[in-house]
Amino acid sequence: MQQQSQQMKQQIKHQYAGQYSQLSTKDFNYIKDHLSWELLAAKKCAHYAQESQDPQLATLINQIGLMHQRHYNTLLQYVNPQSVQD
């Protein structure tokens, strides 16, 4: 069963090979860059929200920080060998 789905994956991979569904070295390096930036941005937002004198600003900054964390998780899927997106 496990083997079968692996085979399917390989087939699908092959099928889409012509449709730009594989990571190039460039794609890969960009993803790693963006992951670092998103993590830093999320940390920065959490820090600033904590320091903020205005509770309304703290809320806004935390929302933006959460957005960066979501972006991080989204991008991470593209380097996850387990994900079907390769």
Partner: protein, 117 residues
């Protein structure tokens, strides 16, 4: 939203400052500094994503990052509007007579259009 005439013909677009900043400015970062730094961060991110988009070969990655870029632009916009609404952003307004002049000039250039409309 106020339009404050200055000594020239210029007007400044701004709202009354309501954001609370320390009366005495010290070396410590204040709320305005923090928002400004976030503005710069979002700007930096969107520039990076924009460059990457033109380089990706992976199709789905391209679509995903295009959405991430759009989110990043929105975050930048929201941050800017927040600053503006707190009165921490002053924008000199382009005098209307000079805008009208440019409109005339570029309207005339329509005569150079290569396509019949």
């Amino acid at each position: 939203m106020q339009h404050i005439p200055t000594n020239t013909q210029e007007h400044i677009m701004m709202v009354q400052q309501t954001g609370n900043l320390p009366q005495v400015k010290d070396p410590q970062m204040n709320d305005r500094d923090r928002l400004n730094d976030l503005l710069a961060t979002e700007k930096y991110l969107s520039m990076g994503y924009n460059v990457a988009l033109n380089e990706f070969s992976h199709r789905e990655l391209y679509d995903t990052v295009k959405m991430i870029l759009s989110d990043t632009h929105d975050a930048h916009r929201v941050t800017f509007e927040q600053m503006f609404n707190l009165g921490w952003y002053k924008l000199p307004q382009q005098p209307l007579d000079t805008v009208a002049l440019a409109y005339n000039q570029f309207s005339n250039y329509q005569g150079q259009f290569p396509y019949q409309q």
